[in-house]
Symmetry: C2
Subunit: 229 residues, 2 copies
């Protein structure tokens, strides 16, 4: 059992609801559109490197993803790609933004139970409006004490969050699927962290397992939290 | 003089720094690119209606603007526009995102002086990462108690902000250039508001002056705040 915890903070995408699957489906559509120009493995690499190049300027989220798809298609085709295919990419993004929210099994039960004992927080990165839309659709907001949408989940961001909530690191536990964003910076601050791996992880969120931090707990599914909290 | 004020909250775009000018310049580039297809007035109307249609899905900010430019160009040209022109639109967005921040005259003086007496807050809407970038570049963050980036500046958003800051409406004054976003919802909550009109206003932020709210103060420039606060 974890002791002295006041705040339980959750990542959202791929921790509370399905997200990476939507990006993978969208990428597959993109690879099909671009199939006349290049093979899937090449396209995947080019799209990823465009996304990483644009990250400091665009940040995370679906709009950034769509702009990076369009940019990649222009570069790979030498500006020869037909405009109707670019229209398809815009539609891919709109479809993603309109997608219903699919809660992961056990998320609602965990929220209902834990909210009776702790203050619950969602700390997520990505697009402000889109994350608010998903939270609203999720039906989880009524259990929440606070929502924090961060431009980057790093040490500074988590420090700001704990200050805002008025808690010490040892009173704070973060739950999420990304070692890079949800676990490492939190553990470095002396707070607690629970890692719940998700079946799919965006390449950018992977870390070299040689650098795995210590001092966090790994569980298989969100309901397992009820055994330790 | 305003009395019992604890928090002075500022809008950012076109209140603290130049913003609308960047969008106007970008639009002008867009109109030139699309000149072979339609006249400026027609393009302006089409771009605006696309932006408004996309607002609930995309929200505010430069990425949303670029996606709406591309969509408008595809529609107006019947998907005939050349891909190299779409590449130009992506570049317009990147240029906007890399732009230095031009503070409006008096903003720094006002912040320095008012921060000795009040807690200062920036409450802005738009793109999370881009607004953080501009705040950072502005040099104003060291005078700030809190930064709130809102997906929509409405009554609910301001209520949440005041709760988070732990102030009553009568202890809160909002300063901004948009009657729709900075003044009306704040006055409706019983808080105070100071309107500083900016030379350019995005059509969406205009309100019918027949519906002008009561109970706010209008000043000509940000330094005039020092006479009333």
């Amino acid at each position: 059992m974890m002791r002295n915890i006041k705040i339980v903070a959750f990542d959202a995408d791929d921790t509370l609801w399905v997200n990476e699957d939507l990006f993978r489906e969208a990428e597959d559509k993109f690879f099909k559109i671009l199939a006349p120009y290049a093979e899937k493995a090449f396209l995947k690499e080019k799209l990823y490197s465009t996304e990483i190049k644009n990250l400091p300027l665009y940040g995370y989220g679906i709009k950034a993803f769509v702009l990076s798809m369009i940019e990649t298609s222009l570069k790979i085709s030498g500006n020869k790609i037909s405009s109707s295919l670019i229209a398809e990419m815009i539609n891919i993004g709109m479809t993603m933004l309109k997608q219903p929210v699919k809660l992961l099994p056990g998320a609602l039960t965990a929220f209902k139970t834990l909210s009776q004992k702790y203050k619950l927080v969602v700390a997520t990165k990505g697009d402000l409006l889109d994350q608010e839309r998903k939270l609203h659709k999720s039906g989880l907001t009524k259990y929440l004490h606070h929502i924090e949408i961060m431009s980057e989940k790093n040490i500074r961001g988590y420090k700001t969050l704990m200050n805002r909530l008025g808690v010490m690191p040892q009173e704070f536990v973060m739950v999420g699927n990304s070692l890079r964003s949800d676990i490492m910076p939190v553990v470095k601050l002396g707070a607690k962290a629970v890692w719940i791996p998700y079946a799919l992880t965006w390449q950018h969120e992977n870390i070299n397992t040689g650098k795995l931090p210590h001092g966090f707990i790994k569980v298989d599914k969100i309901e397992d939290l009820l055994k330790i909290l």
